[in-house]
């Protein structure tokens, strides 16, 4: 799995990336997103409505063992992850909405995750790792606030921090992929295809449902892209921590299969989706005549 040093490095990288993301934001971006809270509302519905339902359906349909089913359900009930903010930034989505959605779903999660697991897993007794939730929120909010302050103080430094943050963001994505595969090579070879399918489908169907619901609710394409990424991308590390805290080591490995596989494939599917979203965005730009605009 992931060692403490590696975890610390990842956390530091996320903090620096979020500093850069913050430097692309102004307080107005947040007030605009809050002024029309439908986007936020749709996000929460899609996060805690669709994702657990998708996970439950997959658990019912796929021929997987009970511990894997539990892993799948836990993964589906997680709040949005910080990675979704990075992908939203690169997708030219609504970053302020994405940050707000991550914060909201994380806070709501404290109450909603136990309830959802009660409904879908008939009272699975789990521990919500509070410290992990606090760390997630701090890692997200503190750097964003500092980034915004830097930009306000000096737009040149802000732009440089943003540029650095986004470069590190790309490195981070590549790093996740490159470091994951050798680490889990044996695991990849021994895991049955149905588990792969569950781990991949959870994210992809989450994207589709989030996007579909947003379009149905007449959200702007930009908000729809944001909700799609936010819905599909779950807080993987939180799921891992939750499983480790809750289950004995014999069961642990099997339950962790989905969260671990999910964490790999979500980076791949999100990258592909981001490339597609960027093309949509480029095509939607107004064409203006040359010269005098």
């Amino acid at each position: 799995m992931v060692g403490p040093l590696e975890q610390a490095i990842l956390a530091l990288m996320i903090a620096v990336i979020m500093l850069g993301m913050g430097a692309s934001l102004t307080p107005r971006d947040f007030t605009s997103a809050l002024k029309r809270p439908q986007g936020l509302f749709i996000g929460v519905v899609s996060q805690y409505g669709f994702m657990p339902l998708i996970a439950f359906t997959l658990a019912m349909v796929l021929p997987v063992s009970d511990p894997v089913k539990i892993g799948l359900l836990i993964m589906g009930c997680m709040p949005g992850g910080t990675t979704s903010n990075i992908f939203t930034y690169f997708s030219k989505g609504n970053l302020a909405l994405s940050v707000l959605m991550t914060v909201t779903s994380t806070l709501f999660g404290v109450v909603l995750i136990p309830i959802l697991l009660l409904v879908y897993a008939a009272g699975l007794d789990i521990d919500i790792p509070a410290s992990n939730i606090v760390v997630t929120l701090i890692l997200l909010l503190v750097p964003v606030a500092i980034g915004m302050a830097i930009r306000r103080w000096n737009a040149n430094v802000g732009a440089l921090v943003e540029l650095g943050g986004s470069a590190l963001g790309i490195f981070f994505i590549v790093f996740l992929l490159v470091s994951w595969v050798p680490r889990n090579w044996a695991f990849l070879l021994t895991t049955p295809p149905s588990v792969f399918l569950g781990a991949i489908a959870l994210g992809v169907m989450g994207f589709a449902c989030g996007y579909g619901l947003s379009i149905l609710m007449r959200q702007t394409p930009r908000n729809a892209r944001t909700v799609a990424l936010e819905t599909g991308i779950q807080n993987g590390p939180l799921a891992v921590a939750l499983v480790v805290l809750t289950f004995a080591s014999t069961q642990q490995q099997e339950i962790l299969a989905v969260p671990v596989l999910y964490s790999l494939f979500i980076v791949i599917t999100s990258s592909l989706l981001t490339l597609w979203f960027r093309r949509i965005d480029a095509r939607s730009q107004q064409t203006l005549p040359n010269a005098l605009l």
């Binding site: 040149n156 440089l160 730009q285 005098l292 605009l293």
Partner: protein
């Protein structure tokens, strides 16, 4: 009969605080204007270039004065130019523009702005026609200059860059991105000097006032125009032309600008006379801060400028205002500090002005003018704007509407818009026949635009002379039909022309770019019928993805007409 020009029915329409006459220029020469302004404003910020990601660079009034002195020295004492020699400038909006333009004025030389989007052939034409002895050009266009050099001999070359004069770290990053990511800086082998080196050499020479003996009627700029009607001609604009037009336009908006308080968005290019006179000169002299946007395309490039600066004025064109209102970030947070805007260059659609008012709570003043008039000829007074009107003449400007024989038309009848005033050019560079055809003996400039005058002196442009459509003996003016089309929420833009039609002589044909993909021909006809007399309603409607446009953004009706005629012949 008293002529309109002497009767001046518009005299009563000037708002309080706006005099009907502007008698004296703001300074003897443009160089003097820069020195006076810098002495007054000192270290306050005059120009800020804003990149799409928010990176910026500032020049203070004092720095602009000092650097343009250095460039004037370079021109006269190092490059050995003489007064009256032409200096070409080909760059997008950047800090280079004020330094070079003011340096040219201070050197007593003549500025020739070249459109950066010109093709090598167009550049060669302009270089041949204006025969500059030196060109300042952005590194991005060196490949085109190399090509142009195969068609015509090249002058001395000074190379600048978009990030010139910005802070070192930012300049480095922008340079790296342009070179290795955008790959927008071509390699070239032309002999040249870099602008910073030229400035250093100029600064090393003893300070000298090169323009001390320059008469006010000395030529300041050759401003090329006429791309839509034929071969580009250089309008000769004198120091006095530009100084007076600045004074006229700034006086006209004086009740709505505060000295040393304004932040003006300069998203339209400064090589165009509108931004040159109003932003670069007018707001500079007022002590305002110019936000120079190197590339406003896509319009999301303006987002950071709106977020980071309290913009109080926008000088723009219909396309800019319309485009901004289609951007989500602009709609979400329209600038709260905005006081008013000025639209020129092309007709401002009534529907656009109304939507703008609803969205921002501020007015767009529609002005009218030509390159030949430095450029502002008329404007709508703020708060007294009249929809569909180009407003009233600038102070000290006389207007006459004339018929084909040159006689003034009776009140209420359409006639060709002609004007006389201190902003009217001295003529076309080395084209006496064109000059004689454009400016009559009494000094009135013929614009080729057909206008009517309301009883109280507001003018309305009905059309360009040659664009008029004749349907069964009735005159249809394309602008009027396009205005109605523009008011339909499902239409992004449109162009209207006349096409030959057996029964009616000509039929009205509309080319429409849809905003709403569901929009049908029937919808458009129903909309037009509600607003227009039957003969003006387009008989033929064709949907297009885009319309042909000139490089200054004017829709090229003649291209559509030529296309329609050739397809008819082919059929």
């Amino acid at each position: 009969m008293t002529s309109t020009a002497t009767a001046r029915p518009w005299a009563a329409a000037y708002p309080p605080g706006v005099p009907a006459e502007v008698t004296a220029p703001l300074a003897a020469t443009l160089g003097q204007l820069v020195r006076d302004t810098a002495a007054r404003e000192g270290n306050r910020i005059a120009y800020t270039v804003v990149m799409p990601n928010g990176m910026y660079g500032d020049l203070s009034f004092a720095e602009v004065d000092r650097l343009s002195d250095a460039f004037a020295n370079y021109l006269r004492d190092v490059a050995m130019l003489n007064p009256g020699d032409r200096v070409a400038l080909q760059t997008p909006n950047s800090l280079t523009v004020p330094v070079v333009a003011f340096g040219v004025f201070k050197a007593g030389c003549v500025l020739v702005n070249i459109n950066p989007l010109y093709t090598p052939a167009e550049m060669a034409h302009q270089l041949r026609d204006a025969s500059p002895r030196l060109i300042v050009i952005t590194d991005m266009f060196m490949d085109k200059l190399t090509e142009a050099g195969k068609l015509t001999p090249l002058p001395q070359i000074v190379v600048t860059r978009v990030a010139e004069l910005m802070p070192r770290a930012v300049r480095g990053v922008i340079g790296l991105v342009q070179k290795h990511w955008d790959r927008s800086i071509p390699a070239h082998s032309l002999p040249h000097i870099r602008l910073p080196d030229a400035l250093a050499k100029g600064a090393a020479r003893p300070a000298r006032r090169h323009d001390a003996d320059l008469p006010p009627d000395a030529i300041a700029a050759l401003q090329y125009t006429g791309g839509t009607t034929g071969v580009a001609k250089g309008a000769i604009l004198t120091h006095r032309n530009l100084l007076m037009n600045m004074a006229q336009a700034m006086t006209f908006i004086a009740p709505h600008v505060a000295p040393a308080k304004e932040v003006v968005l300069t998203a339209i290019p400064t090589y165009h006379i509108l931004a040159f006179t109003l932003n670069l000169l007018g707001f500079f002299h007022l002590g305002g801060r110019n936000l120079l946007i190197p590339n406003p395309r896509p319009l999301s490039n303006l987002k950071r400028a709106f977020e980071n600066y309290p913009i109080t004025w926008i000088i723009g064109v219909n396309t800019l205002f319309n485009g901004l209102m289609n951007e989500f970030w602009f709609r979400d947070a329209p600038p709260r500090t905005l006081k008013a805007s000025f639209a020129g260059g092309m007709a401002l659609h009534g529907a656009v002005a109304q939507r703008w008012r609803d969205m921002t709570g501020t007015d767009i003043v529609e002005g009218y003018g030509l390159t030949e008039t430095s450029p502002v000829a008329t404007g709508n007074p703020i708060g007294r704007a009249r929809e569909g009107s180009i407003g009233i003449p600038m102070p000290s400007t006389e207007v006459r509407l004339i018929d084909d024989s040159g006689a003034e038309v009776p009140p209420g009848t359409p006639g060709e818009f002609t004007l006389r005033g201190p902003q009217v050019m001295a003529g076309y560079w080395q084209r006496p026949e064109d000059t004689a055809a454009a400016i009559c003996a009494e000094g009135f400039l013929r614009t080729g635009d057909i206008a009517t005058m309301d009883p109280d002196g507001y003018f309305r442009i009905i059309d360009r002379k040659k664009d008029m459509i004749l349907v069964s003996g009735f005159n249809v003016y394309p602008n009027e039909v396009e205005d109605v089309l523009a008011a339909h929420p499902g239409i992004a833009e449109s162009a209207v022309i006349g096409v030959p039609d057996g029964a009616a002589g000509e039929a009205v044909r509309a080319y429409v770019v849809r905003r709403d993909p569901e929009l049908t021909e029937a919808d458009i006809r129903a909309h037009c019928k509600a607003k227009l007399t039957a003969y003006k309603v387009p008989r033929q409607i064709e949907f297009r993805n885009e319309l042909p446009k000139s490089n200054v953004g004017k829709i090229l009706r003649r291209d559509l007409r030529a296309e329609a005629l050739s397809s008819k012949k082919g059929a």
